[in-house]
Symmetry: C2
Subunit: 358 residues, 2 copies
Amino acid sequence: VLLDEANLRAYARGCAVLGAGGGGDPQIPLIMAQRTVAERGPVSVVPVDELADEALVMPCGLIGAPTVALEKVWSGGESERLRERVEATWGRPVSALMCYEIAGANGLLPLVWAAELGLPLVDADGMGRAFPQMDQLTMSLAGIPASPLVVTDARGNTLVAYAVTNAAAERLARDAVASLGGVAAGALYQMSALDARRAVIRGSVTRALRIGEALSGADDPVAAVVAAVDAIELFEGKVVDVDRKISGGFARGSAVVEGVGENAGQLLRLEVQNEILAALNDGGVVASVPDIITVLDAHSGDAIVTERLCYGQRVRVIAFPSDPAWRTPEGLAVVGPAAFDYDFDYVPLGVPAAALAP
Amino acid sequence: VLLDEANLRAYARGCAVLGAGGGGDPQIPLIMAQRTVAERGPVSVVPVDELADEALVMPCGLIGAPTVALEKVWSGGESERLRERVEATWGRPVSALMCYEIAGANGLLPLVWAAELGLPLVDADGMGRAFPQMDQLTMSLAGIPASPLVVTDARGNTLVAYAVTNAAAERLARDAVASLGGVAAGALYQMSALDARRAVIRGSVTRALRIGEALSGADDPVAAVVAAVDAIELFEGKVVDVDRKISGGFARGSAVVEGVGENAGQLLRLEVQNEILAALNDGGVVASVPDIITVLDAHSGDAIVTERLCYGQRVRVIAFPSDPAWRTPEGLAVVGPAAFDYDFDYVPLGVPAAALAP
């Protein structure tokens, strides 16, 4: 599969759907990707099983608060600095890039960087969606170290963290990114393809592409998305309240949707920490992490990233199952409701098990 | 010159005198140094002019708020991690360590690390005293980059900053150290001996040793220190007020000394930011950065680091000239009163120019 000018927009729309509102707004990265691919040529998407065992895979993306990222100007030297520091530590060349999260801008920036560096993009990611923290990746579940964790800003300052645990890496990365101005380009969890084969979520890039292509050609875009990801529709309504602030390097807050149609007279509250973590109504929890809750524009079917949520938007809220890795006890310990200090238990979405496969 | 069990205590006392109250309390590092030298053998002190041109010099010490350092436990792996990261970036071995500041604990920790690594210590430093910031080194005046700036904590977490300016390196280092718990072992301004010869303050280690030896054998220890550094005595009295807080990675505050003897009825106020930056009385500024203001115990002649200042201490406050590099317009721009937001001009201490040579 090639990502090129013809399918990039569809891919971006698919990344937004998978992101649970996170990963950063894809609009500017999409323009960057279109321009870079026009100049440097398309990026080839390779299955992790087709890489040589010893090939060095560099997961990457932006790290920090996406609200800040909206305003951030990228200088173009980020990919080269990330690669330089990774190769200096590993003593061998990077063979392929990978999205650490298949979500919003973070589905696109690694593609921009892959085009800049002339490298392929692995058809995989480490979340299958977006999560707020750098230790919430399937690679961490698989025992791959997050370090060396490289972050670099648009001015050319770079920090490399070598942490003794992935939790420490998350904390150091968060502080490092705050120090660099709130958002930075990052590379983390580098691994051989041999390790990647037991540590990543396969097929993420082509899945995003399929979702976007279904969306692009559809008469009923929302229905097309629902079908493409086997989602259940939670709510239809209008955004009537948005509360957000930047705190500790995260965008935290909530949004309230007032029902229309079948949901007239009801309210749905969305809890946000960069991503949408839970949806609640009067009766309690409707859906929660690790399952994926995404807000779609009621007309276009496009997913709305959390930093773009605003009063008056007509939306349809959908939810669909996370990767099975997150639904295990080990996965839930890292990304279940309790990991975000919620006091309710995880209840899997009522969808057939067959829908769990991508 | 060798630093060994016989002269380490004298060296530590000399470092404390040169430190302007900064560099951290030397008591625990002195015990570490005595034990390490007993186990690994003495450390040889080499003039920078005797190193081969291409020899890689690694300035190092603790970075952060010395008040925190008092309580910090060092694990023993710091020197190896600093060297490992420096050598990985430079691609060649470190030939010698250097105190980045000849002051308090920071005169001793590089010696501990030199003993651990089996390397010599260069008879030089980058301040001739202590200053609060990592861009206030003679190496920065000489155009040597602070980066890669390596900091590591006792748990084994390491951060490496590659900054585009030394001011950015200072800011990143400050945040990185805060992220690691307030104080960390650091290495910065690595350079070849060829560069060091135009960038460092020569003779700092042997100067500290001479001061300590004068102090150790003297009947009148304060007089011995005054003679050894060509100081003027500013004030004799009792500490009656100490105000300190940790802010932005610095220990900031002030201390007030109430005069006795010739100074009866007078007050002297000492302004502190890790180090003593200025001494003021009713008539205005008595002494200020970059000149060195040190508080001595009235009886023992030992210098008191700022984090040990407390109510009731009988003290004598002395001042002596900084290295000539700091008294130039370029030097004063970096470490003169205005650099610390004071609104008074620098007035050099009234001592003969001959006293400026070490």
